[in-house]
Subunit: 252 residues, 2 copies
Amino acid sequence: MGALHAGHGRLMEEARAASGAVVVSIFVNPIQFNRSDDYARYPRPLEADLAFCEARRVDVVFAPTVEQMYPQPQVTFVEVGRVADYMEGSFRPGHFRGVATVVMKLFQIVQPDRAWFGEKDAQQLAVIRRMARDLNVPVEIAGVPTVREPDGLALSSRNRHLSAEERAIAPRLYESLRAAEQRIKAGETRAEAVKWAAREVLAAEPGMHVEYLELADDAEMQPVEFIAGPVRVAAAVWVGRTRLIDNILCRA
Amino acid sequence: MGALHAGHGRLMEEARAASGAVVVSIFVNPIQFNRSDDYARYPRPLEADLAFCEARRVDVVFAPTVEQMYPQPQVTFVEVGRVADYMEGSFRPGHFRGVATVVMKLFQIVQPDRAWFGEKDAQQLAVIRRMARDLNVPVEIAGVPTVREPDGLALSSRNRHLSAEERAIAPRLYESLRAAEQRIKAGETRAEAVKWAAREVLAAEPGMHVEYLELADDAEMQPVEFIAGPVRVAAAVWVGRTRLIDNILCRA
């Protein structure tokens, strides 16, 4: 969706390291936004994005207009069931339907052999992996680790909406995930106890409002009650008018 | 779905006349059946089908098992909205979702340049055309006219379920569509009056039960009240335990 940062840069580097031509799509996709204000204020610095891509030896930037992607009312949608049911799926109705649909369209247009997605959007990655497998899409899906600021804040195009004050408290999100991870590493197997440890960190910050904090299996993104293997700890919080998400994969 | 007849043969001839390799898929797709008895008794004469394809110089027959097409529970589906709302869509819940999903899977696996579908399933053709356009699938969709028995009955794999007695009355379906066409050609523009003429033919046959008889625009398959251009007259009827569908495109 553009407003490129070092996280996207990492995707481009991974793609560039593989053989073949590198195509970057830049498209702020209206059908995946459940709030029109979020869509309206989503940053669109196209000139800077093009320079960013050029510096990373990207071969093609595909930056269509909304009219080019949706020349007529879209009546066909790709629906990904259970993987999209919780977390982002329950708080952003229609979001993953919009994501799956536009990614399918982009895959059909660009016809890549491999596609890279950031793990910061772990549920999105799971949705796209499942879609590709269920619909036999001949594209190999690769996940790329989240890139963080020195204080732990995950890079996101929405970070630029944060005021200096909001920016100062934003790292608490990652701290809360790390607190959960420590409890898991210490042997805690009850999800509720792990979540409590993470929520305690967030509750200490009055400027941050929790939308969800969940432990889920990494493949199907279903909530887990007891931790028996690797588990994705994921959260969404509001800082002022800005919504931030983050997650980490924890192993006991 | 196999149980090949001269209607399928026509598809193969059209494909053979175009340049390139001809691939035929034969797969009785469980997720498009809304009645398990219909799925169970759908004919599967694979040996005869293979001979049929060979005689028509088909290059490849793709006849996967259910386990190959659905190795894990299918959670991703292609949903085609308004085009699938009426007629077959309203009487066979989930049918077009199953059709769109399996056709998308087949397209991704086979990656054809062009695909041929019979006009006997006019709404299915409209659903697939819309899906391909909405999801930017790089496959050209071609419709092929319905092949009929000398008495007008449209060829269908389900015709072999008809008893001799049922077979004798089955042509009434096409006759009813022709009655509608005559009213349209005579200048009638009210859909209700046209439908009445067709239903009169069907009502005269006690062995035939009408499920729907509708006039719809050919692109979006929405019911029309007044006839202003070409219109698809479509019907579904029951003859004993067998459900038959047929349609014709009428021009004033």
